[in-house]
């Protein structure tokens, strides 16, 4: 897992450096953000039964390191920790396993207002990696194990995200932001494995995450 995390971090930093425009007067900001998160479930079914599986509603927290490339464009390196237990819901019984994910990604932001405007809406989008992890105590006789298996293991997935938000300057260097992101990854099928004879319907997992953040501009 550490190995996977190291590769995820290195890739993200590389992206950040490539996107930076060294010719512009640079303005940076650093801050923290977090709130809640939730996923869309995927369907799983075998010949006789079906259910839904995926990370459940949870919370998030992370930090950002951003830069203003000009008055309207900016970029951000973000690390976000998401705590979302894994959930399998089926008629034959519900199963749960502790779950979390780590997201590291770089986003490009377009502001709809100049920096001197107090309130600046923006849109954002980017790429990165996401590391899904099953945690907690495994149950040898997990309910509905004939559909899917919630496994205490880890899996790195490439991730894309996009979203919208608004920054509100509340001091000379302090900015408050409120934003909404959608992380898109494939289904982590080691952590959420389809049982023999069962199949997970769909390969995309949407991860909805509203954030509240505060940054310091320097």
């Amino acid at each position: 897992m550490k190995k996977q995390m190291r590769s995820l971090l290195a890739g993200s930093l590389l992206g950040l450096c490539l996107l930076a425009s060294p010719g512009l007067a640079q303005q940076y900001e650093i801050g923290a953000l977090g709130l809640i998160s939730d996923y869309t479930s995927v369907n799983v079914a075998n010949a006789t039964q079906s259910g839904t599986v995926g990370p459940a509603f949870g919370f998030s927290g992370g930090f950002i390191l951003g830069q203003m490339m000009n008055n309207r464009w900016g970029g951000e390196f973000r690390y976000i920790y998401f705590r979302n237990d894994l959930e399998l819901n089926a008629g034959s019984g519900d199963a749960e396993l502790g779950g979390q994910s780590h997201a590291i990604h770089y986003d490009v932001l377009y502001y709809f207002a100049d920096p001197d405007v107090r309130v600046r809406p923006y849109v954002a989008g980017g790429f990165g990696m996401k590391y899904y992890q099953g945690t907690g105590s495994e149950d040898p006789f997990q309910p509905s194990s004939n559909l899917a298996l919630l496994t205490k293991t880890g899996e790195v997935m490439p991730a894309a995200d996009f979203g919208v938000g608004v920054k509100w300057r509340i001091g000379s260097r302090t900015t408050f932001r409120l934003e909404f992101r959608d992380y898109i990854t494939g289904v982590p099928q080691k952590v959420i494995a389809a049982a023999p004879g069962a199949e997970i319907d769909g390969s995309i997992l949407h991860h909805w995450a509203p954030f509240f953040g505060i940054t310091w501009v320097f």
Partner: protein
């Protein structure tokens, strides 16, 4: 045949006595027997009488050959005086001491035949021994006794006379051959049935001297002294047969067996007296005829005597019997020549047998406190400090240990089963040495019976071990006598080991009880049954609801059969060595007493053997009658009497219609359920059907010329004799096909729902279980198969067989439909549906218990599938595992398997570690034994157990050491962690494991060859392979999951030992 003259007979008897006297003198010089009781008081000549004078501390001994009375000090045991009582040439024939201790009278006759002048008596005044009066008589005085009025009764060769020693006057009481005015009234004047002369007599008074009892070779008598010189005489002819075989009386009132003429002694209370070996009451009924003296014993060889103990609740009588040849004993260096029996005074049950220092040859007298016993013996007198037996080494096996019963399951083939018996000195005296052996011939190399210790001294707890394996392939009950050699002065009561090897298909519950139960009688009105115990002369009363012993009731001598009266108020028990029926009040469970078959009205002696109840509330009794014959004599030993169950009146019809009540053998009787008809069956093959309507025999048949034995029974409209069934007219319907030629029928009962049930027992010498079967009275060929019994029914005793009564009634129905049977170790109780579910077990497959494949390894756990494997479901609760579970067991190659679980469809068991190759498996269930099922067993054949999940999904029994949970899809294995695999069939381990025993933790028991364990083809490092500690037959393999093991949902996991591999799949994730 010409009768010998009385003179000649007298002379002959005198010659015999003289010869015996000479023999006694010779023997008297011999060294006394060791390990015996008694101090010999040598007296010259031949002593034939003894009297005790406690007031003076003297013993008077009548000296036959010297014609004197020897006076012996009780204190010094020395002769203090000698009174000459007979002239030279005369012999003392009798002697008596008056109750007031003033007079002693000795009678004498000539020692030479034909010398008539030496006949008479001598009276001595003990207060002044010089005051002697000798009176010559023309007849021959043979014996004398005093009554309480100090009047002597003298028995002469021609009659009885009273003699007043004060006046010297005689008064005739009885003149043989003439009417007797002093005699009690009887239906027939018995004097008409007596000879005119007798030649031998013995006479004695009760302790209170109110009664005088006597015996001659022709009659026995009792005399009640009512007032001085006045009394009532009761005579009973003995029906004697002289030495030439000629009857000297015509037999009225004759005894079934005449008492051996050695001596008469009266009880303290005058209620009974001993005459030779027989016990009479004062009405001259035979209360008991001890079977100790062998049948047909030659009288002149009999040496013995008897005497009552006036103490000990009037219930002790001593009886001496000497076997000139010595009784067989385990110690040939110490033959038993003279035995003093201590017996119950009401039925002659032997309580104790004492070796005496020399042979007791005549009368026994006991001091009033019961502590000192003096007896006429070979050398003179013998003194036995009977109250001080605690000074002698004695030995007995504790009463409750005399029948050591081993209930052995047929599947038990272990080293042995052990029980402890107590060997003790009952008197608490000095220790006695003992040595124990058994006579069982064992089939193996090691003894089947072991005693630990086998030698020692009392008191001792001896462990008796029955080595079931060494017993060999026997089934049923085997009774093994324990041979006891000892230096004790007593002959221990016999003790037995009863090894009842019970297979699970043997039906019934054995209720162990001490005794030899000849018959068991179900009470149709109560929840009780009664077992007739011929060893202890008792009726053992059982509560049929829980088989608890409610009590033991005394019977007469040698009880044989019993029956409940038609109204259910009483139980009548036939005492085959007495003239009495024991009557028990069943409402309050008390013995009402002995009701006798009265010789006075029957005209002869009858011993009851068989009894049944008819519908007129009579007890129908098959009897053995006097061989001398009586009124209406027919010369045959069998007859049928009737005793009314309320009035107790006894009738004996001379004829039943046109058929004479006279049978060639003792009839066994059995009434139909309604009591209207009674079957008589004799061992000579004759059978009759008696109807109570007209008291007639309506059918008679000699169907079985070869003789009959076994059981006799009656159903509603049929009869059972041996293994034959006949209709109500004795027309044969068929023969029951017995399962073995080594069995004979033993019992028959009709249950409350009218179904007939019969049982069979093994023939003598055969070891078998016996069997029981429900019968089809219409078609014997359709009768249900025989069901083996938990313990075989008892056969008739040797004495019954000897007397021509080879019949048994071993089976009886209880009122709730259950059945009870006699057995060699107690009673067997059978449920009403004893033969239900008789489908035998059928084996369809034998697999590994782990994965239900046919890959089976030595020492492994197996599952046996089939039907009727066990009557119910049961599981073992603890180790060592039982060999029998839920009335089922399994043998493989003859060895029983430890069982974990049994059910009708499946049995789980452990194979022995040594079992390899094609193996024969057999299921034993209470419904039968399965056919042999052959299965292949390899030295090692691993199979991994399967675990069923909550949703019935199956998982291999592979556990993760990470969390010690089952490795499943949702709890997958990880590379480099240790997987714990549970399997079976990995073969023998080291240290060696025992089948059925839990594996040890220290040391661990590891397999000889390490198995190869692979995950997806990649071998893992086996850390441990051996038995799982605390479990039976369960192996554990601890193996590292290789780091390079393939990942996946279904990775093959294989375990290989030798040529055998087993495979499961596991999930491995990183």
């Amino acid at each position: 045949m010409k009768k010998p003259s009385l003179v000649w007979k007298e002379a002959r008897s005198l010659v015999v006595i003289l010869l015996l006297s000479g023999l006694a003198a010779q023997l008297g010089a011999q060294v006394p027997f060791t390990n015996s009781v008694g101090q010999i008081i040598p007296l010259g000549g031949h002593i034939n009488e003894v009297a005790i004078d406690e007031a003076r501390g003297l013993i008077y001994a009548g000296n036959f050959s010297a014609g004197t009375v020897e006076v012996v000090s009780m204190a010094t045991k020395q002769v203090t005086a000698r009174y000459t009582t007979a002239p030279i040439g005369a012999a003392t024939t009798g002697m008596a001491l008056s109750p007031n201790k003033k007079w002693i009278i000795a009678t004498y006759v000539s020692a030479e035949s034909g010398v008539s002048q030496f006949r008479g008596l001598t009276r001595i005044n003990l207060n002044d021994p010089t005051d002697r009066l000798s009176i010559a008589r023309g007849d021959r005085p043979l014996g004398v006794a005093f009554s309480a009025d100090n009047i002597a009764l003298i028995v002469t060769n021609t009659g009885l006379e009273l003699f007043n020693p004060e006046t010297g006057q005689f008064r005739e009481l009885l003149a043989l051959g003439e009417t007797c005015p002093s005699c009690a009234e009887l239906p027939v004047d018995v004097t008409l049935h007596l000879p005119r002369e007798v030649s031998q007599a013995s006479v004695a008074a009760s302790l209170d001297a109110r009664w005088i009892f006597g015996q001659t070779e022709a009659f026995v008598f009792s005399y009640l002294a009512r007032s001085p010189g006045v009394g009532t005489l009761l005579l009973r002819p003995a029906g004697s047969v002289d030495g030439a075989g000629s009857s000297i009386t015509d037999g009225y009132g004759a005894l079934v067996r005449e008492p051996v003429l050695q001596g008469v002694s009266g009880s303290a209370d005058g209620l009974s007296f001993m005459a030779g070996h027989m016990l009479f009451n004062r009405a001259l009924h035979v209360m008991a005829d001890t079977p100790i003296v062998p049948e047909g014993f030659d009288n002149p060889e009999f040496i013995g005597g008897n005497g009552y103990d006036p103490d000990k609740d009037y219930n002790t009588v001593y009886f001496a019997f000497s076997d000139p040849n010595g009784q067989a004993e385990s110690n040939p260096a110490h033959p038993i020549h003279s035995i003093l029996y201590v017996m119950d005074a009401d039925n002659l049950r032997v309580r104790q047998q004492l070796r005496t220092a020399e042979q007791i040859t005549g009368r026994i007298v006991v001091t009033s406190d019961g502590d000192e016993l003096y007896a006429v013996s070979e050398s003179g007198l013998m003194y036995v400090p009977i109250g001080g037996l605690d000074q002698h080494p004695m030995l007995e096996v504790r009463a409750e240990d005399r029948f050591v019963t081993f209930e052995i399951d047929a599947c038990e083939r272990g080293e042995g089963i052990t029980k402890t018996i107590r060997i003790e000195n009952p008197s608490g005296g000095p220790p006695a040495q003992f040595s124990l052996t058994s006579m069982l011939t064992n089939s193996g190399q090691r003894p089947a019976i072991r005693f630990q210790p086998s030698t020692g001294t009392t008191p001792a707890d001896v462990k008796v071990t029955v080595d079931v394996g060494a017993l060999g392939p026997v089934q049923g009950a085997t009774t093994i006598p324990i041979q006891i050699s000892t230096d004790a002065v007593n002959i221990p009561q016999p003790a037995f080991i009863v090894a009842n090897i019970k297979a699970v298909d043997q039906r019934g519950t054995l209720v162990p009880a001490n005794g030899r139960f000849m018959e068991v009688v179900g009470d149709p009105f109560r929840d009780r049954y009664y077992a007739i115990d011929q060893d202890n002369f008792e009726i053992v009363v059982f509560d049929s609801t829980d088989n608890r012993v409610l009590g033991r009731l005394r019977t007469g001598n040698t009880p044989t059969q019993g029956a409940v009266s038609r109204t259910g108020e009483r139980l009548f028990v036939a005492n085959s060595f007495s003239e009495g029926m024991t009557v028990v009040n069943l409402n309050d469970l008390t013995v009402e007493g002995m009701e006798f078959l009265p010789w006075q009205t029957l005209g002869e002696g009858h011993y009851p053997y068989s009894v049944t109840a008819d519908n007129t509330n009579r007890m129908v009794i098959g009897v053995r009658r006097s061989p001398a014959g009586g009124i209406g004599t027919c010369g045959s030993p069998g007859r049928v009497d009737f005793m009314h169950a309320i009035s107790m009146s006894v009738t004996s019809l001379d004829t039943f219609g046109v058929v004479t009540n006279c049978y060639g053998a003792i009839p066994a009787v059995s009434a139909t359920p309604d009591g209207s008809r009674v079957l008589f069956a004799q061992s000579d093959g004759f059978m009759q059907v008696f109807t109570t309507t007209d008291n007639e025999i309506i059918f008679t048949r000699q169907q079985f010329a070869g003789g009959l034995q076994g059981t006799v029974g009656a159903g509603p409209d049929y009869f059972i004799v041996e293994n034959n069934i006949m209709n109500s007219s004795l027309v044969p319907r068929g023969v029951f096909p017995d399962s073995s030629p080594n069995v004979v029928s033993s019992g028959f009962a009709v249950t409350s729902d009218g179904v007939g049930v019969r049982s069979v027992r093994p023939l003598g010498g055969q070891v078998d279980t016996g069997a029981i079967q429900r019968i089809d009275a219409r078609d014997p060929s359709q009768t249900m198969g025989q069901i083996r019994l938990a313990s075989p029914p008892l056969g008739p005793s040797a004495r019954m067989l000897e007397l021509g009564f080879p019949f048994t009634r071993s089976l009886s129905a209880l009122r709730d439909g259950r059945l009870v049977s006699t057995s060699s170790a107690g009673v067997v109780e059978l449920p009403k549906g004893f033969d239900s579910g008789v489908e035998v077990p059928v084996v369809s497959a034998i697999t590994s218990a782990a994965d239900f494949t046919t890959q089976i390894g030595s020492g492994g756990l197996i599952s046996i599938f089939g039907r009727n494997l066990a009557p119910g479901t049961a599981g073992a609760v603890d180790a060592p595992l039982p060999r029998t579970l839920g009335n089922a067991c399994v043998t493989v190659n003859g060895e029983s398997l430890p069982l974990l679980y049994v059910s009708p469809g499946q049995i789980n068991a452990q194979l022995p570690f040594g079992t390899v190759g094609p193996s024969n498996a057999t299921i034993h269930s209470e419904t039968g034994i399965s056919d042999v099922f052959v299965t292949q067993v390899d030295p090692s054949a691993p199979t991994i157990f399967q675990v069923t999940g909550p949703d019935s999904s199956q998982f291999a029994a592979v556990f993760r050491s990470e969390n010690f949970k089952l490795a499943t899809l949702s709890n997958p294995l990880r590379p480099n962690e240790v997987a714990i695999i549970y399997a079976t069939g990995l073969g023998q381990v080291s240290p060696l494991a025992l089948p059925g025993v839990a594996a040890t933790t220290v040391p661990l028991q590891v397999v000889g060859a390490t198995p190869v364990v692979e995950f997806g083809g990649v071998a893992g490092d086996v850390v441990y392979a051996g038995l799982a500690p605390g479990f039976v037959g369960l192996y554990q393999i601890n193996v590292h999951v290789p780091g390079n093991a393939p990942l996946g949902l279904q990775v093959p996991l294989t375990v290989t030992m030798g040529a055998n591999t087993t495979a499961v799949s596991v999930r491995i994730v990183d």
